[in-house]
């Protein structure tokens, strides 16, 4: 450490005496702020290729691996952390398959987002007092029909986390509710389905939809 301090001090001193074209070269870099070079306008810049991605596409991007994981966490209000449980195990399995680039023309691996959603949602169904009950008010022991309102509300709530409230308050709110209602009733139509299964269907649909929004 003493050697390092001595070197640093010595180099500061050297740097202060080193002038090239009027610009002091900082030996420790960040300790010395850069200084505008007089007359260094855009006329000194070389050519650069313009970017043209097409018409009417603008800011559309694909969520990459890290973005997909973060959006799923947000969709479930960080109650299914990516560092634990089935979610973490699924990430370890599929993360290299997730989209690597944000360009929609080049990205692949969207299907893996649904797998991650599945895993994260399943983490909300575990235990004697699962989060699907304590957070979303769905009673695992009750019928899907009895839980219908709570299931639909859960879907809206999950979607809202990546849509800033537009799922419940935006112009398509009614249609969102209709879609979720149809989904829940379709689940209820099969007598062997449980409320946990219906929650999984709603959770996966809403989480995946929210996590994979392209721009918006």
């Amino acid at each position: 450490m003493k050697i390092r301090i001595a070197i640093t001090v010595a180099l500061f001193a050297t740097g202060c005496s080193d002038h090239l074209k009027g610009q002091r070269r900082p030996e420790v870099g960040i300790a010395v702020a850069p200084v505008s070079i007089k007359g260094n306008g855009l006329g000194n810049a070389g050519p650069v290729q313009p970017v043209s991605g097409g018409v009417n596409t603008l800011g559309v991007t694909v969520p990459t691996a890290r973005a997909s994981i973060g959006r799923i966490e947000n969709a479930l209000e960080k109650r299914a952390p990516a560092s634990t449980g089935n979610f973490a195990r699924a990430i370890a399995q599929v993360r290299t398959n997730l989209p690597r680039v944000s360009n929609p023309k080049e990205a692949s691996g969207f299907d893996q987002v649904q797998l991650l959603s599945y895993a994260a949602c399943s983490d909300l169904t575990r235990g004697t007092n699962p989060l699907m009950q304590s957070v979303y008010g769905i009673q695992p022991g009750s019928s899907i029909a009895n839980n219908e309102a709570a299931l639909i509300a859960a879907g809206r709530r999950i979607l809202d986390q990546n849509a800033a409230g537009l799922a419940s308050q935006g112009p398509a709110a009614t249609q969102v509710t209709t879609v979720l209602t149809n989904l829940v009733q379709a689940q209820a139509a099969s007598g062997s389905n449980t409320s946990t299964m219906a929650f999984m269907a709603v959770c996966i649909a809403a989480t995946t939809a929210g996590a994979t929004l392209l721009g918006i």
């Binding site: 050697i3 301090i5 180099l11 074209k21 030996e27 420790v28 870099g29 960040i30 702020a33 850069p34 200084v35 505008s36 070079i37 007089k38 260094n40 306008g41 855009l42 000194n44 810049a45 070389g46 650069v48 970017v51 991605g53 603008l58 800011g59 991007t61 990459t64 890290r66 973005a67 973060g70 947000n74 209000e77 560092s83 370890a92 944000s102 360009n103 649904q114 979607l159 986390q161 800033a164 409230g165 537009l166 308050q169 935006g170 112009p171 398509a172 969102v176 879609v179 979720l180 149809n182 989904l183 689940q187 269907a201 709603v202 996966i204 649909a205 939809a209 994979t212 392209l214 918006i216």
Partner: protein, 427 residues
Amino acid sequence: MVRGLGAYLLLAMLWLSTESAHAQIDVDATVKALRLRNGITGGLLPVSDPIFANMVTRVQAGDLYGAALLAANSRYFADYLARRLALQMQTPALDETGMTDNDATAFLIAHFTGAAGTVPRLSTIFSENATYLVVDSSGQPVHAADISFEEGLNINWTQMVRINGQEDATGFVLPVKHVGGYLTLSDRPNDNSFAIFGATAGTNLRMIAGFWEIATGLTLMDVASQAATVQQVPRFVPSFDPNFFVGQGQPACMSCHAGGMVSLDHGYSTVANTFDVTGDGFIFVQNSTTGSKKSLGSDRGARGRVQTCNLSRTPTPVCNPESPDVDPNNSWNVAQTWQQSGTLKAMGWVGPTQGQGLQALGYYAAQSWIFYQNLTQRVIGELCPLGTFSETEINRIAGAANPWADPAGTDDIRTIVAMVAASPGCL
């Protein structure tokens, strides 16, 4: 499950079909804020965070740039886009796939967002003599490579500890002349850092070429020139090769080795015999010998023959007898060939054209306009790959970040990020 998938597709389609403003929510402002949030933070910024509400307010006020800057200034930008850009910069492929956090990526994130009380500073990413440690979940500063993938998901990348100086993998403190900012940071074997990429085996040509490619966005052939001399070619390149002076179905060897990124004059001397990778990891070569000199080729056993380079011997040594070999003082002179070929002008090079050592080369390379133009292009590629940006717009954004420009830019990549994201060609 199939019904679930159908439902999510339908939800997504409904989502994209928003048409009119809703009474209870400012749909247009919310949608714009969401797009900024999704691009700049990858969607990591929770919409329940007060930052998002402020973004919506800024958008409502017509301040798209301000809204974008709020996202860029958040810790979520550091965790997502800044980290992504840093991981990409460990190889010239600029691909983060399979990359892992290390000292070099931590250094870059610190320079992108500011950390440990320092301001963001693009201009010294190839020259600052420092090391940055991240703070783990127990509050202890650790090397970024010590962080597990799971722990990395929760790290606050704007919280770092800065340590003066850089050490190689054996703990030897790098002489400042040879510091290359993030280029010379690696504390262990196989840490996916640029240093390991550049200095493993071979001749270290990969290291200097990688530096130029990442700094400028140019390719080897973009800056190759045959208007060079045989004396500018490294000694291990065989001058008797039929493609040496004039390429036959390929570019001439000289066009890159004498007139391009891997010329003796264009920085190869700063890395060739200075760095290596051993079982310990990235090391500084304290006492260079003939056997250790990568400038004499990748075959350690043949380096003596390359140094002697007696072409009358059998078998004929693979070498260039006209080459003076790399300068022992690590000098560089980018005006050689590149002044005449127009490459310096294309780079917008404004600093000194000669110097010694990697730190000076990295420092002055980051004064060139192309460095800021290239970063702008990369950010566009991340945020608006399908957007539309004119040359004028790209230069305007690059100029706003270029601290060497007149008027001075911010030296902060978040300026680029916010301007790109808020541009009419993107949003």
